[in-house]
Symmetry: C2
Subunit: 278 residues, 2 copies
């Protein structure tokens, strides 16, 4: 692991790091905020998965999470959203919603993406092992949240590993990628045409198929351009109701899809996580 | 005035606006956060002046001021740092520390800068009139803060108009531009070689020459690369001590010159302002 930068912030250290990933076959960059803490202490780890087009940098610069993480004693990790670099295949037309910046947190099985696009294993296995080795992290206390495509990632990962992630929440998540345009484009290219494979990467389908968590927190802006066409939080609400999952879905009046929305409610999410992380 | 963008944030509205400035002869862009407030209420106005190379956008995205402004009921205005656009003269070699992005909050008297570089009048007269007309602003309650070159601007403006600005503070300000490289380059190009003109744009010289405010708050990182060569807060400390100005100078261990530093202490500054704004 190589340190790209460190900056003192809110009494802790905001770092950016890179490493050679075995999963993606590329250099991967990620950011970690370590709050002020007693020497030798091990701290809970909050994973934040970003949305389409983002890198680690968007939330690191605009997410306004450090104040609450410093107060609550939380490590905050922000991975990139896809492999990047020469030789990594991209969308055929360079579109923003597939390929670079748009890994959808799956392990691709289709060519030419299968070699590099292994974001599921990267985020759930390889990067946690690195974080455990390099930072004062208590890996028995992890939680996960994300935005948009990263909200999809957080929900699907949290639903798949409910014992590992003690809290799961999302800002404006894609809750049912299997039936909205973003997912209908990306999932066949990464996973092929067998829709059974898609269902393991679709929060609503996972719940319908029996996945369970105790509780979910979702914030969704009412002025979000993607609300009707891509996000469809009501589908998550219906699935949670049928499954007996305690979903708190907050429709936030006038908020859009931007970091102005995310930063406004970041502290609420971190407090919700901290309570469940003990 | 034209609206470039508005985003709901922390219950208020973060806007970006532009207008044709008579002072600079250019289009000028600025941002305004209006916190949630009762209809008809008039709110105090905090002016934030940015540093070298910045536009309104840096603090708007990274400053983490909205949460505290929403709580405290403060309007937060961030102007640009220079005129911009075709025909606006720049540094002869395109350097970062003079010309575009580096107006130093003076009204230039030297050619070819005198026509456009009128940031003092723009920030103290023209933009306040526009803000008063367009936003729910109580112009009897204004305060000012800034970072680096903008800390210089905040201190010199606050010291010049102590009745108008009820609170004055700075992050890592240039306190004595007349005797450090940034100012020794910029001041003669904007103001000519008469050092009497420079002293009106030098916080330490202004205090030596009799300018007074009740109190100042300054945060300065100890790991700031510019601390020794350009910023020299001890000169401000000496001047304030001699003048009987109640300066709170906080040397912040390990902090650098970045927005990671500014955002860490922004809330402290805003609370300090709010107390003085009533």
């Amino acid at each position: 692991m190589e340190t790209v930068s460190t900056n003192t912030a809110f009494g802790g250290v905001q770092g950016v790091y890179k490493h050679a990933s075995k999963e993606t076959g590329t250099q991967m960059t990620f950011s970690v905020f370590v709050p002020p803490h007693a020497e030798g202490a091990k701290l809970p780890v909050v994973w934040y998965l970003s949305g389409l087009t983002c890198t680690h940098a968007n939330v690191t610069e605009k997410g306004e999470f450090r104040r609450a993480c410093a107060e609550l004693g939380l490590i905050f990790v922000a991975p990139d959203t896809s492999p990047r670099g020469e030789g990594v295949p991209d969308d055929a037309e360079g579109a923003y919603d597939f390929g670079l910046g748009a890994g959808f947190y799956v392990d691709a099985t289709e060519e030419p993406f299968a070699k590099n696009y292994r974001m599921w294993s990267y985020v759930t296995e390889e990067l946690p092992a690195l974080v455990a080795a390099q930072f004062p992290a208590d890996m028995a206390r992890q939680s996960i949240l994300g935005h948009s495509m990263g909200g999809h990632g957080a929900l699907t990962i949290g639903l798949t590993y409910p014992d590992r992630y003690k809290a799961v929440s999302a800002f404006a998540p894609i809750v049912a990628p299997g039936i909205v345009p973003w997912g209908e484009k990306a999932l066949p290219l990464y996973l092929g045409n067998d829709k059974a494979a898609w269902r393991r990467h679709d929060a609503v389908a996972l719940i319908e198929d029996g996945a369970r968590v105790d509780a979910l927190l979702v914030d969704q802006g009412t002025a979000d351009n993607f609300l009707e066409g891509q996000l469809k939080p009501k589908l998550l609400e219906q699935a949670c109701k049928a499954a007996g999952i305690d979903l708190t879905l907050r429709m936030q009046e006038g908020y859009d899809h931007s970091y102005y929305f995310i930063s406004s409610f970041m502290e609420d999410h971190l407090r919700w996580h901290a309570k469940r992380l003990g």
